[in-house]
Amino acid sequence: MKDFYDHIDDYINERMSPEERAAFDLELAINSQLDQAVKNHPAAMSLIESIIEEETRASISEVIAESSATTATTRSPAKTTKLRSIMRWVAAACTIGAVAMWGLNGYQHGQMEGDILANYVQDISLGGTKGGQATSTMDSVIHYYNTNQRAAAITRIDQLTKTNLLEEDLITYQRIRMYSLFYSEDYNAAAEQAKKLKGMTPQDTELLYFSLVLAKRTAEARRVLSMMDSVAVARVGHFVE
């Protein structure tokens, strides 16, 4: 056998003669890299078998984008205005998402329970304060954000993220920072912040996409679009051309 790596698939799928198999087993016993490759082979195959799915989804996105672009051209001469209005809609949706996510994180950490959570989220949605005073570090950030003091929110978050934070809280801060940057029309920075998010939601992905579109980073926007589900693609795919 010239190169054992070329025969891993044959080894796993038992397409070897007894002699070849014995030689492979012998090499496996002394070659830890090969052994690891054999163990990782199923994951490698999962990736490879997914390429066709990726290609097909990209084709579907292209077809939908083509037809959406045609429709948009005939229906809406004021494309920029339409884009802006969608931006605002997305940003508004994300605001709700950020608060909801924060509430959920807090709940998961046992910091709030049952009715307290409901009251707290309602309180935050009304401005993030109790009696005019911010009630916690997170409150203050939400308060800045909800009162359109986005630069202050970003500054506060930057201070906080230098300290030791629970990972879930860090993600929430990063998410609020991303929305703040986006809503401040700093689309490049919003995109970069989005890329740093762990566990992106579909909403986050959509925001990243719009940030890239508005920052005129078309190639990257297309790549992000190819990762979205077909419904999102149908709705927003035509903005990247």
């Binding site: 070329d6 690891q36 999962s46 799915e53 084709s59 579909p202």
Partner: protein, 199 residues
């Protein structure tokens, strides 16, 4: 333009012929309003909305392409439209089961035989798809092409011809190098291996 979506044999050949032909097949399927309406109609009659219907339509197309591509010699025995509608129905039933909204009496009977294999389990879930997309994004385009064709059961001579390599040996060497790169990447990123569910 010939309507390949009406002829199962032709459609299968197109899907396996090459990237451009496959793209044309996808375009004709996606733009087939009548077929799309059938899928959307089924889903909306069974606890879903239009958006669910469109998602199932696209997912059914993806499933069909993936199945045909990954199984050399695969035969679609029914009309392509019936096949896609059948796949969409199965996908939607699975979706309803996941959501706990499945009632055996509320769904129409699925008349079309799909296949005797595990085609429907070939679909990636959203989260896995995102991870896989991110990894594939880092893979060189020519590696993706050669590995995709190899996994689709294409012979090295066919791969060499499709990707314009000078010889079968060149295609074999390219595949070998790409596989080694992928093994090395996975070894360096064990958390990705854990997240990818083997198909």
């Amino acid at each position: 333009m010939q309507n390949i979506t009406e002829d199962a044999d032709l459609l299968v050949r197109q899907i396996r012929a090459g990237s451009a032909e496959r793209k044309n097949a996808v375009k004709q399927l996606v733009n087939n309003q009548k077929l799309k309406n059938k899928v959307v109609s089924y889903v909306t009659r069974n606890s879903g909305d239009k958006t669910d219907g469109e998602t199932m339509f696209h997912d059914a197309i993806v499933t069909m392409i993936k199945t045909v591509f990954s199984k050399p010699g695969y035969v679609i025995t029914s009309h392509p439209h019936a096949y896609i509608l059948g796949v969409a129905k199965h996908l939607w039933m699975n979706e309803l089961r996941k959501k706990g909204r499945h009632s055996s009496t509320s769904l129409d009977v699925v008349a079309e035989p799909i296949s005797d294999d595990n085609s429907l389990s070939l679909m990636m879930t959203g989260d896995t798809r995102r991870i896989i997309s991110a990894v594939l994004d880092q893979m060189a385009k020519n590696c993706k092409q050669v590995l995709m064709l190899w996994s689709g059961g294409y012979k090295m001579t066919e791969i060499a011809a499709a990707l314009e390599y000078s010889s079968e040996g060149m295609a074999r060497k390219k595949k070998s190098n790409c596989m080694k790169e992928l093994y090395a990447y996975l070894q360096e990123h064990p958390h990705i291996v854990e997240r990818i569910r083997p198909i």
